[in-house]
Amino acid sequence: MGVVFATRTLWAVVLALLVGSVLFLIAGANPLLAYRALFGEAFLDYFGFGATLVKFSPIVLAGLAVAIPLRAGLFNVGAEGQIYLGALFCTMAALYLPEFYWPLHMAVCIAAAMLGGALWAAIAGLLKAYRGINEVIVTLLLNYVGMNIVSYAASGPMMEEGAPYPYSPEIPFSLFMPSIMPPTDAHAGALFGIGLALILAFCLKYTTFGFALVTVGHNPQAARYAGINVRRQIVVSMMLGGALAGLAGGLEVVGVKYRLFQSFSPGYGFDGIVVAFMAAANPILVVVAALFFAGLRSGAQFMQRAVGVDSTVVDAIQGLIVMFVAASLSIRFSDSRWGRMLAQRRSMEDLLPARGKQNGEKQNA
């Protein structure tokens, strides 16, 4: 199954790149040269690969943040907002705690980032579990609330004095995440992504926690009969996703920006949705897909300079990839794991209270 899935996705990506080459032809460039510049810079050049890793770190974590709730049958469209809250909590821990032994302080900052994201996602999880409110809508709306909270913090209480535009003071130097490919900006955050993907893949497959989570995703009715607390699984999987997205935001602060900027994320949370979807919510494949997307993003600027084709083409190609992958997976829809997950998400809807009759029951009780 996994093999079919992976090859099918691969073909869809190839097809999308072929269609994307039409855009290069329109712009009067040789698509082969453009792609060679794009991928050559992103993956084969030392500095280019460093730049790819800088983008890989938030994208892979955002991808996992979407993938884990997805395995429990939940759509977390709110990774972007969770990234912002994570960055906010992380910066607060970095700036307002007195400096102490740095590895410990770093750990506290990272924990704060995860807490921020988890709390933000918990809102959607709790509303889903106890009121049956569609988590897609709530997480989508919370994105904008989160962004504005950070915008307020960066331009108000946390703003550096005399700063030309809204950002916080710099975090202490001891908290800068070390580089793994000096002298490039690639920081150790990328390792967090890979490590967590491996741990999560293991947990989903071999632990009772993972088993409960996936069972809820597969068949909430059966899960309930088996004595699994479905509501708690919903909240926990959302919070876990939020923690991963929050970590992505925190690592942007300690690894790349070193301060809290207003609107610092160029939509990593939305990239995460795409990546998780391409990877069929498989943590290992999330790493692969995230690497590919990070490469697309980082190689785009170089390609623009080398071939003279605008880097905005890459955005369009990313969209095409999503469309082709989505379309390819939907052929024999019900056979794919994706289709199964969605079908089972519906049975969860039936299980939860909220709509009409069940609400009445609750009031009577």
């Binding site: 897609v136 709530v138 989505a326």
Partner: protein
């Protein structure tokens, strides 16, 4: 009383509110139609952006804003056609489709804008619409200038809102649309062409979102810039929820969003001590609270987001 609430400036505030409301209202109406037919249109943002680009292109090429409007609608509707094909024919998850459309639209419009308008992708001031005061009505104090000294697309909105209301609640088509959104299988067995109805709904939805985008270019800013829809499509989605999937309430919700937007713009310029972010975030918070408070009583169309397949029951 804080200075940003005083009367003289509040007429001005009221006058800017409808202008900020219109693009959201068009898109929200599109969202209502699509969701009533059972399809989530998360691609509203991308369709608005396509509409804005179409509006700019039409106006740029012909010098006539009407051509811009038509091309804007066509571009928005073509986004709708893609969503319809993927979600209805291929049963692709509607949220994923919508996100893909937003991505493609963002990249493609920026790319094409550079091809069409030159390297930086922006235009000089485009020919657009200017306000036309309706004689008599516009001289009513307070509400006159607010509602009747606007540009033609605002008046178009006044016509489209009752039209959509009539379409959904008073016409046979509306019954078919709502049936398709509530229970496609039952509608199908009653002889409603479910796929066709959904296709038309999504196409109309895209066209309306495109019109909303064209409005931004042709009546508000008169230039096209990359990613200029700037989240208004998502606000429109929130307006659909806050408006409880009803066209009239969706427009009222859009008006609330427009007012908040006008207020935050004012605050950014006039009064830096009040955090303007509160007013940007307010509509989203209100939508979530509305979901929490109203969900039991008002529910979204039951089949929204679910692919319908004729031959099998999932």
């Amino acid at each position: 009383m804080p200075e940003w609430l005083d009367i003289a400036s509040s007429t001005d505030l009221l006058q800017t509110s409808p202008r900020l409301t219109v693009p959201i209202a068009f898109s929200a109406l599109g969202g209502v139609i699509a969701e009533r037919g059972g399809i989530y249109n998360v691609g509203l943002e991308g369709m608005m952006l396509s509409g804005a680009f179409g509006g700019a292109l039409g106006s740029f090429l012909t010098g006539n804003p009407m051509a811009g409007v038509l091309l804007g609608i066509a571009f928005g509707a073509s986004g709708g056609a893609v969503l319809a094909f993927l979600s209805i024919r291929l049963n692709v998850n509607q949220i994923v489709c919508g996100i893909a459309i937003n991505l493609v639209a963002g990249g493609l419009t920026a790319f094409l804008a550079r091809l069409a308008f030159g390297m930086d992708g922006t235009t000089k001031a485009l020919p657009g619409f200017s306000p036309i005061a309706i004689p008599g009505l516009s001289s009513i104090p307070l509400i006159g200038p607010v509602f009747f000294d606007q540009d033609p697309l605002v008046y178009a909105l006044y016509l489209i809102v009752p039209l959509v209301y009539w379409l959904l609640y008073r016409s046979a088509w509306g019954l078919e649309i709502r049936a398709t959104g509530e229970n496609p299988a039952a509608a199908d067995s009653a002889g409603v062409p479910v796929y066709w109805v959904r296709f038309c709904c999504v196409l109309a939805s895209g066209g309306l979102a495109g019109l909303g985008g064209a409005y931004i270019v042709l009546s508000q800013v008169f230039v096209f810039t990359e990613h200029m829809s700037a989240g208004k499509g998502f606000i429109a989605l929130a307006a659909v929820i806050l408006g409880r999937w009803d066209p009239l309430w969706a427009v009222v919700a859009s008006l609330f969003f427009g007012f908040c937007d006008a207020l935050q713009l004012r605050l950014q310029f006039a009064n830096p001590t009040v955090p303007y972010q509160i007013f940007i975030a307010l509509p989203y918070v209100a939508s979530i609270l509305a979901l929490v408070g109203l969900y039991g009583r008002v529910k979204p169309p039951a089949a929204v987001g679910l692919p319908y397949r004729r031959e099998t029951k999932i």
